[in-house]
Amino acid sequence: MALIETDQLEKKYEVGDSIVHALNKVSLQISAGEFVAVMGPSGSGKSTFMNVIGCLDEPTAGRYLLDGIDVSQMDRDALAEIRNEKIGFVFQGFNLLSRTTALENVEVPLLYSKNIPKDRSHKAREALKLLGLEERQQHHPNQLSGGQQQRVAIARALVNNAPLILADEPTGNLDTKTSVEIMELFVRLNEEKKITIVLVTHEPDISAYSKRIIRFLDGQIISDQENRP
């Protein structure tokens, strides 16, 4: 079964008098365990696509099934619950809570789970350990390098055992060497933990790590091909 299945997905914005089709009848399927790179120039609709499949935004029309659940008509609290259980986000700007330790940052998704686990800090520590950050638990984001911060963010995405990681330009703020480290991390998570990864990037070097590349232009998919690294 497909983890992500969209059917005629549309997203329209009204800008003044004109209507912008950020997504125009997008239909695609992403199976569990895939590693997909979404590419396209700015304004192509790839960010809107990520927001919609990340349940941060609701489509204007069309259907979206995530893990078999139709989420296109859900209200914001139901979407929040879906995000918490199914999706881990990794952002370009890391988006960690400042003035909060790495460990506590990783714990945040657990605080909003339906059943708040008692061993929160244990789980968070495990996730940090997986990313080789056990020494940095008590550091605040501003005491960590960019790569380390991004790894904390990835640990946060992993902590709830979400089957899907959505990464929006995860290496955009990192140097080449760190970018390689982060991308290898994604590959490892994909292969070892079978986590589905959907990644937005405009760098061919980064998309090269994925197994499938989807290109957007003007709100439509213009190409969808396998990629053999």
Binding site: L56, A80, R83, N84, E85, L97, R99, V108, Y112, S113
Partner: protein, 409 residues
Amino acid sequence: MINLPATIKISLRSLRVNKMRSALTMLGIIIGVAAVITMLAVGRGASNKISEQISAVGSNLIIVLPGSTTTGGIRLGSGAIQNLNRADADAIKSECSAVSTTAPILNGGAQIVYGNQNWATVVYGTDESMVEIRDWTLAIGRNFYEQEIRSAAKVCILGQTVVDNLFGNNDPIQQIIRIKKVPFTVIGVLDSKGQSMMGQDQDDIIYVPVTTAQRNLFGRTFPGTVRSIMVKAKSTEELDRAEAQIKELLRQRHRIGPTQEDDFTVRNLTQMMQMAEQSSKVMALLLAAIASVSLLVGGIGIMNIMLVSVTERTREIGIRMAVGAKSWDIRTQFIIEALILSLIGGLIGVLLGILSSELLSFFAGWTILISTYSIVLSFGFSGLVGIFFGFYPAYKASLMNPIDALRHE
């Protein structure tokens, strides 16, 4: 489901980060709560003091005074004549059903001598009912016997101040003192009552039998009369009825025609003092109401700061929403933050209020009464203020769009 300890921890951290701002926001609540507590303490202290004085004077008291008289078109003031006598007092006692007991009073100033000590005080000629009427008790010795009143015995009961001034630490019982050069045997000493509402020393007093006062001390100008009659009604409810009965009886006894004015005045002492107590209570509430306005202003300060905080932390809100925080979670977080601000402020305010009340009583000498009720009230009110004024900013935060919030710089 919300994780309360974790939410409280988050709130505390964000308040700690902006220490100065949190402290200033709290200051509004602190001042408000402290003001409410102080005002209530002062107000309640005042009304408490008044009710103490009421019970010191004696409860359910009515005083009958001689009225004015007119001679040749000239109206003389109250007390210019003395037209009340012991028979009036006895008649009131026996014929008015709402009256419990009465005591005649014939008083005057006098110089008292004991050994080589002397003292000027007020001597009250009265009878054995006086002690009961004024809800007084004897520290040592005994009350008058009825027979001593009838026979105009030269015995007296002293107030505490008189004893202090004449006897020091010696036992006054059975000692002879001289009032206006007439020797009297001391038979009792009254308990101390302290100051009256008007600031008079109520213990600076001597009671002698009214008959003795008439015969040996103050009876020269109007023989056989008394200055006033103290009446004790059976209960507070009966006060009005007692007053009416006394008026009717005295008009009859003094043969006053239906068109003529009373030649006496009936004053309801208890009612007067209860009115004073009532008005001091109203004043206390008024003061507290004014003080609570500052609590309200403190609440607006909280709302202001919370709105700023929400805007500043838009990105944090976005992150929390992205990883699964529901509207409710965000709302609770900010309400708890406001609540913590107001409750900590309230707590400090309570302490400060108690402190300032104590300082007022220490330096200004005011009677204060800090009640648990006023502490619970103002603390609870500060919590309500926090929830009320925290709600709008929290609601605003919870309605944010996570995408916009994440993009916020």
